[in-house]
C-alpha cells in the first residue's frame, strides 16, 4: 500500500512508536493489528473503500497550480486540494477507512477525539453513513472555539462530550477517549484521527492517508514531467503530512518539510512545535517527540489553530527527523494568519488555519530554492470553520 517498509513488527520506526498503554488495551491493539493486516489486503475491503473515497468523499482531489501565488514567490506552487473533499478536510480519508474496518470487525460503536473538530465531523459522517453510533470527545476550550463543528457533529447524529480535564484541548480529549476505550474495549472501535497513538494506529492512519501522496505524485509527474523539489505540509499529529510524504520518502531529491505551530513564538513557550522545540518521551501510547518539562510532565500548548494544538507528534515524523529524511520548522500564529489572507486574496481560497501554516513557510522556502522550483503543498482543509476565529482575532486590537 505504501513504499515505506516501517514500522517493524513491534510497531517501531527506528526507536520511535511502540505500544505504551495499560495492559487492558494490549489485546485490543493486537486484535486491531491482525484485522487491519487482513482487511488491508482483502480485495473486497479495498474495493469498497475505493468506491467510498471516489463517490462519497470526492477523490481524486485536484492538484491545483497556484499561478498568482507562484508569481509572487518565484517558485511553482501546486496545492493538493484536500479542502475540496466531503466534510472539508483530509480527515475523511482515514475516518472512512477506520469506520469501515470497525464495521468489518463487528464493532458496535465508534468513538473519536477531535481538536479543531474536523476529525470528529469526519468520523461522525462516516459513522452516520455506515450506521454506527458515534461519541466524540472534545476539549471544552475547543468546543467553544469550534462551536460550529460541535453542532455539525450533532446534526450528524454524534454525541459530543466536552472534556474538562487538564488543558481542555486535544491532548485531554485523547486521554478521555482512551479511558472510554479502556472501559468499552470489547465492543468499541477507537477511531484515532492522526498518525499518533499506539501501534498499529500510526501505520494504519498513514496508510489510509497515503492516497494523498500517491495522487499528488502522479499528478505532479503528469503536469511537470518530474518530481517536485519540495513537499510541504503542516504537522500537528501529522496525518496529512505523513500521507503526503509517504509517496516521496523514497525519492531522495524531494525535500520533505513539515511545518509546526510556532504559536506566539518558540521563545515564549506558547506554541505546539514538538519536533522543533521538544524532546523524546512517551505519550498516548508511543515513544515520540513531546513538549514536556524536565520531570516528564507534558506541557500545555498554544496555537491559533486548534488542529495543531497538540504536545506530541506521530512517531514516524520523529523517525524522519532523527534520520534526517524530513526537516521540521515552525511558523507563528501571526505568520499563519498572514498566509490565510494571502491565499484568500491571491488565489480565492480560504485555507484552514492548519495548512495556512504550510503556506506561511513558502516565502522562506522559496528563497532556498532555485527559480521555477516545483513545490507541492498539502492544503489539508478549508477555512470555513476558522472564519469566525479570524474575525474575532482581527477585531481586537
Amino acid at each position: 500500500m505504501t513504499p515505506t517498509t516501517l514500522p517493524d513488527a513491534r510497531g517501531r520506526f527506528g526507536p520511535f512508536g511502540g505500544r505504551y498503554v495499560p495492559e487492558t488495551l494490549v489485546p485490543a491493539l493486537e486484535e486491531l493489528g491482525e484485522a487491519y493486516a487482513r482487511f488491508s489486503r482483502d480485495p473486497d475491503f479495498r474495493a469498497e473503500l475505493a468506491v467510498l473515497l471516489r463517490d462519497y468523499a470526492g477523490r481524486p482531489t485536484p492538484l491545483y497550480f497556484a499561478r498568482r501565488l507562484s508569481d509572487r514567490l518565484g517558485v511553482r506552487v501546486y496545492l493538493k486540494r484536500e479542502d475540496l473533499l466531503h466534510t472539508g478536510a483530509h480527515k475523511i480519508n482515514n475516518a472512512l477507512g477506520q469506520v469501515l474496518l470497525a464495521k468489518r470487525m463487528g464493532k458496535r460503536r465508534v468513538i473519536a477525539e477531535t481538536g479543531a473538530g474536523q476529525h470528529g465531523v469526519a468520523t461522525a459522517t462516516a459513522a452516520a453513513m455506515l450506521g454506527l453510533p458515534c461519541d466524540v470527545y472534545m476539549g471544552r476550550e475547543d468546543t467553544e472555539r469550534q462551536a460550529l463543528n460541535v453542532y455539525r457533529m450533532q446534526l450528524l447524529g454524534a454525541r459530543v462530550i466536552p472534556v474538562d480535564g487538564g488543558t481542555r484541548t486535544l491532548k485531554d480529549a485523547i486521554n478521555e477517549a482512551l479511558r472510554d476505550w479502556v472501559t468499552h474495549v470489547r465492543d468499541t472501535f477507537y477511531v484515532i484521527g492522526s498518525v499518533v497513538g499506539p501501534h498499529p494506529y500510526p501505520q494504519m492512519v498513514r496508510d489510509f492517508q497515503s492516497v494523498i501522496g500517491r495522487e499528488a505524485r502522479q499528478q505532479v509527474l503528469e503536469r511537470e514531467g518530474r518530481l517536485p523539489d519540495a513537499v510541504v505540509a503542516c504537522v500537528g499529529g501529522g496525518s496529512n503530512a505523513m500521507g503526503l510524504f509517504s509517496a516521496f520518502v523514497q525519492d531522495p531529491s524531494v525535500r520533505l518539510v513539515g511545518v509546526e505551530a510556532g504559536g506566539l513564538g518558540l521563545h515564549t513557550g506558547q506554541h505546539a512545535a514538538s519536533l522543533t522545540a521538544g524532546s523524546p518521551g512517551i505519550l498516548h501510547g508511543a515513544y515520540t517527540y513531546l513538549l514536556q518539562d524536565d520531570a516528564g510532565q507534558v506541557l500545555g500548548t498554544h496555537s491559533v489553530s486548534a488542529g495543531l494544538d497538540y504536545p506530541g507528534v506521530g512517531p514516524e515524523h520523529a523517525y524522519l527527523k532523527e534520520v534526517g529524511r524530513a526537516e521540521y520548522v515552525a511558523v507563528t500564529d501571526a505568520e499563519a494568519l498572514e498566509a490565510f489572507h494571502l491565499l484568500a486574496e491571491l488565489e480565492g481560497i480560504l485555507p484552514a488555519l492548519e495548512p495556512a501554516h504550510a503556506v506561511a513557510y513558502l516565502p522562506g522556502l522559496a528563497r532556498q530554492l532555485r527559480p521555477d522550483a516545483v513545490v507541492v503543498v498539502g492544503l489539508s482543509g478549508r477555512g470555513d470553520k476558522d472564519v469566525d476565529t479570524v474575525r474575532k482575532l482581527e477585531a481586537t486590537p
Binding site: R10, G18, R19, Y20, V21, P22, E23, T24, L25, V26, P27, A28, G165, G166, K171, D172, N175, L178, R179, V182, T183, V185, R186, G281, I282, L283, H284, G285, L290, Q292, D294, A295, G296, Q297, V298
Partner: protein, 265 residues
C-alpha cells in the same frame, strides 16, 4: 529476602490477603502524608502503593485524576516522591511500591530511577502504561539493583499475556479487577474472581487485586483468592470530603482491616 517477599510469604501462611492502600504522592501534602502513613500502618495497612503524579493519567478515573492534578499543582515531581520515601523510611518499614506512568520514569532515566528508588527505600515499581513487552530497559535496570517490578494483568489479558506479565513481575502481579479505569464501584466486578483464578492456575506469583474496590465486603469477597487488595479511589473519595484527612483515612483503612480479619463464614 525483600520486604515484599516476606509479606507475601506471611500472607500465604496465614491465608488472609494483605491490605495495601494507594496514596497519591503529594496529595494530601507530603507533610500530611508523613503523619498519615504511619497511622495507616498502625490501622492495618501492610504495604503501600504510592502514585507518582502525571499530567496525563489515562488509566485513572476522575477521583485519582483530581488527586494527581492537585499533587502536580503543589509541585510534586518524581524526585520529590523519592525524597519523601526516604524520609518515610525513618518511621515506616512496610513495603512501598511506586506506581508511575512511563514518561516521568523515562525522563528521569530508567537506571538512575531504579538506583535512586532503591536508595530511598522503595521496594517495587509498577508501570501503569508499560506492558511487559515494552518494559525491557526498566526490567533490566531494576534487576541490576534489586528493585522489584510489578506488571498489570486485566480481564482482557490472554493466557499468553498473563504468563508474560508474570514472568516479568518479581514483587507481585497486579490484577486489574475490571475492564476500565480506576474508580470506586458499587459492586465488585464479576470478572475479578475469574481473573484471580486464571492467575492462580498459571503462576505462583502473589496476586494482588486492585481497581474498583470500594467497600470492605469487596475485599472480603476475594480474600480466598487474592494475596493482597489495593484500595485507592474509594479512599480519595472520602478524603476529598474530609475535615481531618488523618482521622478519615485511619477510619477507612481500619474498616477494611477489621473486615478482612473477621473469620470467613
Amino acid at each position: 529476602m525483600s520486604r515484599l517477599h516476606e509479606l507475601f510469604a506471611r500472607v500465604r501462611v496465614r491465608g488472609r490477603p494483605a491490605l495495601m492502600p494507594f496514596l497519591q504522592a503529594g496529595d494530601p501534602d507530603f507533610s500530611v502524608l508523613e503523619r498519615l502513613i504511619p497511622a495507616l500502618v498502625e490501622a492495618g495497612a501492610e504495604a503501600l502503593e504510592l502514585g507518582v503524579p502525571f499530567s496525563d493519567p489515562i488509566a485513572d478515573g476522575p477521583v485519582l485524576q483530581r488527586a494527581s492534578q492537585r499533587a502536580l499543582q503543589r509541585g510534586a515531581r518524581l524526585a520529590d516522591v523519592l525524597e519523601f520515601v526516604s524520609r518515610l523510611r525513618r518511621s515506616v518499614d512496610v513495603p512501598v511500591a511506586l506506581l508511575s506512568y512511563a514518561n516521568p520514569l523515562f525522563r528521569y532515566g530508567w537506571e538512575r530511577f531504579c538506583q535512586d528508588a532503591v536508595a530511598a527505600g522503595v521496594d517495587a515499581v509498577i508501570p501503569a502504561d508499560l506492558p511487559a513487552d515494552e518494559a525491557g530497559p526498566l526490567v533490566d535496570a531494576s534487576r541490576a539493583c534489586g528493585l522489584d517490578t510489578v506488571f498489570l494483568v486485566a480481564p482482557t489479558s490472554t493466557d499468553a499475556r498473563l504468563r508474560l506479565a508474570a514472568a516479568a513481575s518479581t514483587g507481585f502481579l497486579y490484577c486489574v479487577s475490571l475492564t476500565g479505569t480506576t474508580g470506586p464501584r458499587d459492586h465488585l466486578s464479576a470478572d475479578a474472581r475469574a481473573l484471580l483464578r486464571r492467575v492462580r492456575e498459571l503462576t505462583d506469583r502473589p496476586a494482588v487485586l486492585g481497581f474498583g474496590i470500594a467497600r470492605p465486603e469487596h475485599a472480603v469477597t476475594v480474600a480466598d483468592l487474592a494475596d493482597g487488595v489495593i484500595v485507592g479511589s474509594a479512599l480519595y473519595r472520602v478524603l476529598e470530603e474530609a475535615r481531618d484527612p488523618v482521622v478519615t483515612a485511619v477510619e477507612f483503612v481500619r474498616s477494611f482491616a477489621e473486615a478482612l480479619r473477621r473469620p470467613v463464614r
